[in-house]
Symmetry: none
Subunit: 243 residues, 2 copies
């Protein structure tokens, strides 16, 4: 169990960049990497040489097929993206995101930050699996931050915040839901909607699913609330008692 953010690389393209990312992380003490569908498979012989000694992180990297599987056991997930997206999520600068993650870690939560493929960045679909967005405020006239650079800035802020001891939030008694619990609610509701032809016209289905996922993500429900909601949906999809 780590007490630091997991770094999730979504569909990374070049092994070299995975190695550089590991090096950037370790410079500031971050050690846990997860890879989602790395383009050239894993392990990748190009990663080691550019890790400059951070090979252990590569050896320990966990590989997942989907973003959802990669974030399943996490309670707070940030999506690192520079582009404004047509979705309602709160946006933090690195310092603010790290403070938030640090609070989470202090109260026993597992947290992570996900980064997209080098060329395209995270897709809107990827971002729906995150709670919030972290954006590095770069020069608007020259935004050419590469993967390892974006990671080193987050890792640097994490390291800087290392001395800060933030008390846990007041009134938070219930554990926050894990992504897996949230995902189970989302699937349940979407399945029921699917049965009832909610996703029409077909062309709008992906967008409709995104909207719903963002809606549930944004609510920040805890485990108990998720259980309550699953009970609500179970009950509400039954025939009326007087039928």
């Amino acid at each position: 169990m780590t007490n630091q953010p997991v770094i999730i690389l979504v569909r990374p393209q070049l092994g070299e960049n995975i190695g550089k990312s590991a090096r950037a992380m370790l410079n500031f003490g971050l050690t846990e990497i997860r890879l989602v569908a790395p383009r050239d498979g894993w392990p990748n012989p190009d990663a080691g040489p550019s890790a400059a000694g951070a090979d252990q992180l590569l050896d320990d990297a966990q590989v997942f097929n989907t973003v959802d599987e990669a974030v399943n056991d996490l309670s707070i997930v940030y999506a690192a993206t520079v582009r404004p997206r047509d979705m309602v999520k709160s946006v933090e600068v690195p310092e603010g995101a790290i403070k938030d993650l640090k609070k989470g870690v202090a109260s026993g939560k597992k947290v992570g930050i996900m980064f997209g493929p080098e060329r395209s960045g995270l897709s809107n679909d990827d971002i729906t699996s995150a709670d919030k967005i972290v954006t590095v405020p770069v020069n608007p006239e020259f935004c050419s931050l590469n993967l390892a650079q974006a990671i080193i800035l987050m890792a640097y802020e994490w390291h800087k915040a290392g001395g800060i001891n933030i008390p846990s939030e007041i009134g938070q008694i219930n554990e926050p839901a894990t992504k897996q619990e949230l995902q189970s609610l989302i699937s349940h509701v979407e399945d029921e909607l699917q049965f009832r032809d909610y996703f029409r016209p077909k062309a709008r289905e992906p967008k409709m699913r995104q909207t719903l996922r963002n809606l549930w993500q944004s609510a920040g429900f805890d485990s108990q609330q998720i259980r309550t909601l699953r009970g609500v949906f179970r009950q509400i999809t039954r025939p009326k008692s007087d039928d």
Copy 2:
């Protein structure tokens, strides 16, 4: 005349790293490079490709034979080095150094930060030309910060100190829901649950309703999300399409 720190690369070895340094700088709005005795001469054809568009900085780079010439017109100079040296100079972390440089700039001084060759870093001789030392607090067990990374951290702190202005939320266009809209959702869901004998045993009904209301309140949905949810509940309480 610039009102930002000049970045001084002392005896840089690879053109590629000079290009990467320019790219790192421009990401955070720094534009003035000085080169002291670049190993492979100047201009260097390897620099441009790795500058990723920051070529103008390379074209404008000034070249000097010695560190002293390069810092001649500057009033405050920091030496970036990770190793403690046997000399009496004050040492700052990046944030502190940038604050100091910012004060200098505000009072009309020209300031700079110098970085050493990739392999060896600044020599003690080089450091004597600086006023102070800036050290990035890296992981003591893995210190493998390269030139462009050290530069990007300083540039990032510079940019941060400049007053970042990014919107707190992306895509937040919708008004937050009124309590009336929220109430309409709550009533809708509770009516459907009532029909289906959800509130049992009767003695627990008030508590169950409270729990649900707190749950919806805590989510902080906006008007659009409330409308989406009402659509979801309308659809989900219909018989399945294949019934």
